[in-house]
């Protein structure tokens, strides 16, 4: 790995050249929030964003994705990835992408996701502003962000650029990069370390302690108590960077001869997620109560996947906390209550 430096004006030119020659995506403003979207000029890129409404998973695993096209009785694969550069991903989202990479690869490789992922160059960036519900400084601290190609850190007068993979190295041609000096590297390390202490919310236990206590609290009354206010809307699932459950449906086009088999984001908080038809009009729902669905999400985030991922499937972005209508989704609040039980 090599570490480079580029000054402020050089960085502007660099982004300008990427816009000209590549399909560049990054954080952009949308009214008073931020989203990952197309960068068409340097000014679009808002590396000062706090958090985006949706996580970057939408760029590899779109909210609705065609899996197969069909023409009468013939099916055709829809895997057709578009090369893209994703610039400005915070480290918590990098961790989440690495987790979904593993989950779509394990057991059965799903190239509907993996092909998009392989055709993406990910350049992370440091967190310049911290969102109101973030707790990335205290969750899953044993899980290192990895799987990205490079990482930018804003320091006095410019950016330090860690070049991790050949995909990132190839981008050096577009900017006037110098080798970073020790002072610049130290400054970048300091910036990235300091932001971890600035989260408004904080977990007070290790992942291992939380894992054990949450798992042993399966039969606690707490789940039904908290979930009494749950609308089963699934917003917490939709905005979660590590949620990847989906539904699959077939749709005809208007000609009623061709159509698509498409998947769309689904969520375990939704009432019908685990329903099975038994025939003669009867239905079995294996997570019938709101509490059981609420518990399942938290178990998935805090315990079920820990062995596989090396830590919790929560990265502390705080998105679920901020979108939950009744403000019951915040993992920090639930985990604190469970730890105190």
């Amino acid at each position: 790995m090599e570490t480079k430096f580029i000054n402020e004006s050089g960085f502007q030119d660099f982004v300008g050249k990427l816009v000209e020659s590549r399909n560049l995506l990054g954080p952009v403003a949308k009214r008073n929030k931020f989203v990952f979207g197309e960068i068409n000029k340097y000014e679009d890129l808002r590396l000062d964003y706090d958090v985006t409404l949706l996580p970057p998973k939408k760029l590899f695993f779109p909210p609705k994705q065609d899996l197969l096209k069909f023409y009468g009785q013939k099916g055709e694969s829809c895997i057709d990835p578009v090369p893209q550069i994703l610039l400005g991903v915070h480290f918590y989202d990098i961790k989440a992408i690495d987790m979904t990479d593993l989950l779509f690869r394990e057991n059965n490789e799903d190239y509907n996701y993996l092909a998009n992922r392989e055709c993406t160059t990910i350049i992370g960036s440091n967190i310049q502003n911290v969102s109101a519900r973030a707790f990335f400084g205290s969750v899953g601290t044993e899980v290192e962000p990895k799987g990205h190609d490079g990482f930018l850190t804003k320091i006095d007068g410019g950016y330090v650029f860690e070049v991790i993979t050949a995909k990132a190295k190839e981008l050096l041609q577009f900017g006037d990069f110098q080798d970073a000096n020790e002072n610049q590297i130290e400054q970048a390390e300091k910036v990235n370390a300091e932001v971890l202490t600035k989260c408004p919310e904080k977990l007070n236990n290790t992942s291992a302690e939380i894992n054990e206590k949450v798992r042993n609290s399966f039969y606690s009354k707490i789940w039904e108590e908290i979930a009494e206010d749950c609308f089963s809307c699934g917003s917490c699932n939709i905005v979660c960077p590590t949620c990847y459950c989906f539904d699959v449906q077939d749709d005809w086009y208007l000609d009623q001869e061709t159509g698509v088999r498409a998947r769309s984001w689904d969520g375990c908080l939704k009432e019908d997620f685990s329903e099975v038809s038994l025939g003669q009009g009867s239905i079995e729902n294996f997570r019938e109560s709101r509490g059981s669905r609420y518990r399942h999400r938290l178990m998935r985030k805090a315990t079920y996947l820990n062995d596989k991922l090396g830590g919790p499937a929560c990265v502390g972005c705080g998105r679920c906390s901020s979108v939950c209508t009744s403000d019951i989704a915040d993992p920090v609040n639930v985990i604190k209550q469970i730890m105190e039980e």
Partner: protein, 285 residues
Amino acid sequence: MSCENCNCSNQANYENIFMPKEAKIIKTKMSTASEKRFWVKWADGSQAKFQPGQFLEVSLFGYGEIPIGYASSPTFKDNFEIVIRAVGRVSNALHKLEKGDSIFLRGPLGNGFPMDSLKNNDVLVVAGGIGYCPTRSLVNYILDKRDEFGEFTLFYGARSPKDRMFNDDFDRFKNMDRVNVLETVDKGDETWKGNVGVITTLFNKTDKINKDTRVIICGPPIMYKFVIAETDKLGIPHSNIYVDLERRMKCGIGKCGHCQINDKYVCIDGPVFKYSELEDREEAF
């Protein structure tokens, strides 16, 4: 198209795990008023290769996919059977298919029954309603390789005589040696001369089951705990009991999440589980 910023030069060759294979329907038969039996053959002429207890994602373009267990034994290689109960959009569309039509399948999926643990042991299969279909793959396997197993008992319970499936099987079993088959219906009618009562009432009607018998259970969710109360009375350890579960599945490959039981995926960790693995999981039954 080649990719300008990565090495994915083979992208035209990405395998799509959701692409089903075509199969041809060679025969159909209504088993009951709502269940239709299909005899199927791979369109490319390949043989049926699967383990008893595995399943397929069965689809029809424009309607969707549903998970269905193999209802025949892999010892019969020429074709295989599936049974579809008409309950929703996909299954009702599949019911319209007849001999000569194409059907689209992904599989075999899932783990299947633990043949190593069943071989050389006494086996009891407890099948309630449509639960007989996936377990039939095992029943016929055992009957085709009869010498590899000890005592074999099948309990089959249907709601009523009209809901009985595979009457041809049960007629055939009557003439076979070393096959202990007991049937019951929840509610009889004037034609029915056999047992009446829930499936657990059959436990008192045979002496072929003992504490070392391996038990396979497949049926409606409510059935499991009552059957296990009976096997508990016989002292059968929970690690010798296997349950074959049904769940909503959208992918069948461990991704979509619908079939999760706590930390397990029914589609890849199951659909067959040791009961001892699941008994403390509230979401299992």
